[in-house]
Symmetry: none
Subunit: 213 residues, 4 copies
DNA sequence: TATGAATGAGTGTTCATTCAT
DNA sequence: GATGAATGAACACTCATTCAT
């Protein structure tokens, strides 16, 4: 993902500062590794520098503070994640298919980029600046992709009419998140997560489709 | 809960000096407030001391380190929570009733003791000692209460036979947790959480009961 | 002077925190030595700690910042200097005698406490906080002791009626200060300064007494 | 003064590349502004670069270190000041006239180039290299212009025979310096300094001429 | 037991200086 | 020469923990 993100950024910025972006991306990549391994607070900025192959001071040419590195990881990765997920979901015709795609994509992210996953879901909360000063709109936007599908499904009669998308989207996200978190934390093999994902889809679909009798 | 917990501990400790236990409990209560407010890392031990009405050094007569305070909060609170929840669920005859009770109890905890909730679900993860050296059996035990109900429901035919309790218990816990977390983080009014809880129960029951055809 | 100052403070504070004041005074004494030797900016806080026989962190129990140490030296020393000088000048009957006493006392300070002298006259200016946020009233108060004498001498006819105390007090202070500064900077023997002082008194008295024809 | 100085240097350097000298002079001019505003220690080399319109690295093509910029300001300005002052004093026939010219010229410098004045009199002392490794002969040379006049006046009977030029020259310089310093520090209007200068001349002349009766 | 003053290891950040372009 | 991105040494300050009282 790192490479893709960098490429995206390079293109987005019109290639003016190709070298800067490389280094910025390298630092973010290094930071993801270090933060995931040591935790945000226990990670030293000098560790990030070493992992990124730059000098300590160089970090501060690209980021104002340690906190900002963390926030930038989130921004940078979420930007890519949201774009990619929207693209994939748009291709699918049914609400049910979209919902399954969301779950599959989330699981894919977690297995492919466990460090990013850890940083975004665990470490990010340790930044005061992030939790307090920063409206974490990206998180909401992510969850809203489920909400949109739920509404779509309600409208076309696929899903029950009595579900509240605002609540259920979070329930689904939370279920996914918990499965992934435990998988990350316990460092289980990938197939365990894949089987869990299939169970989850079944559970979730039953939850939004089948009314209890 | 604090009072009850202290009482429980007093019993559990088999009659050690009552005053010691008061102080220990006071420190834990103070720590919960401070950790919830400032976050574990940004909280100073001296803040905990001040909030507890003891001297800085006194903390170390009851806890080996800052980390241990955090872990003790978890141990102490979870002990009470598990005992209480088991008692309540045991009283109910049906798996469905037990499942609903689990959700209601979790929500009740969150609304009654938001600080404890925050510390256990958010701050706890910031302790390396907890996440790495500590087998968080209590968390599993808590989730297993759902797992047991799910198995019970599968056995008596209430719930679908194809659900995997090991996965679904985590999905349900995750859904609950996410709803509560956002409620805590965004400091929403209590009734918002209560309505969400009712939606969640409907969603979860549909998920474990109704099979999609 | 350090001892006297400490004694004064102890008394002033009513002896409540005798130990604190000892340590505070020790730190100020250490800081005077270190600042005079290395210069304020080149002096490390840890140098001050070492010179004071305390740990680095202890410094911050008594002073908010490195800047505040510098300012406290000034406050602390000037308080004593002003009190002592006022007392001495009050004892003398004539304006001429008082003026001579001012010069003698200033020279005595410089020769007895060259480090304090250096810190107050040279290093103090390196503190942004001092120069900008701090109304250095003590300096003015010190110079005003000359101004008062000049007015007294004008009133009783000892000094010329056309001198402007507001200007001449600074001229006299500046002359004294320059002689002392060079003496400090060049580390000349004490007798050189004493001879200069006698010349200075003669020059100054001629300046304020004798009108040119 | 900046322009004149550059011209002087161009001549002095015997026709080196004019462009180099422009840049060197530009850097010194920028440094004077920045040092006067922020203080030597708080001023960043990059600030000087920005104020001079050159790149950070360019500074080091003309000066070995930040310290050397400061010293060069002094050298450069003093060279011009001394030459100019000598020329002016030489034109005057009497010791008294020369002494008055010295005061007037010093005051003129301070009012015309307050930044230079601040740097030379205040900031210069913050450079260890200057104060310790550098024999500040220029300062002495400057003061010696007063010393020479005093001797001249003693010889022709204008001034008292018992004055010691080595002491009195410093007293006069110190008096001048103090008046100017306070004027700079307090950012007073120019006319205040001019009035003070007239008082000072009267005081100084009385000091060197009139014997006390 | 309780205290809280003292400790000193630990680290984010700055900025003078260098050097590849 | 000129640039400015990169370097990395340096340091003020914090705070968990200790221990004399």
């Amino acid at each position: 993902m790192a490479t893709t993100t960098t490429a995206a950024r390079t293109v987005a910025s019109g290639g003016a500062h190709a070298r800067d972006l490389d280094k910025r991306a390298r630092i973010l990549d290094g930071a993801v590794k270090v933060f995931a391994k040591r935790g945000f607070f226990h990670a030293r900025v000098s560790d990030v520098a070493k992992a990124s192959g730059v000098a300590d001071g160089t970090i501060y040419l690209y980021f104002k503070s340690k906190d900002e590195i963390l926030i930038s990881i989130f921004e940078d990765r979420m930007e890519w994640i949201l774009a990619e997920l929207k693209k994939r979901m748009a291709k699918l015709p049914t609400a049910r298919g979209k919902l399954e795609e969301f779950v599959d994509f989330h699981i894919m992210l977690a297995t492919s980029y466990p460090d990013v996953c850890d940083v975004i879901t665990i470490e990010l909360r340790q930044s005061n600046k992030f939790m307090k000063e920063y409206a974490n709109t990206r998180f909401l936007e992510y969850q809203n992709l489920i909400g949109d599908v739920l509404r779509e499904g309600k409208d076309d009669g696929t899903f029950r009419s009595d579900i509240d998308p605002a609540v259920v989207k979070r329930a689904i996200f939370g279920a996914l998140h918990e499965l992934v978190s435990q998988w990350v934390l316990m460092k289980l093999p990938a197939n365990r997560l894949l089987r869990a994902a299939s169970q989850l889809k079944s559970f979730v679909l039953a939850g939004v489709v089948g009314g209890e009798k």
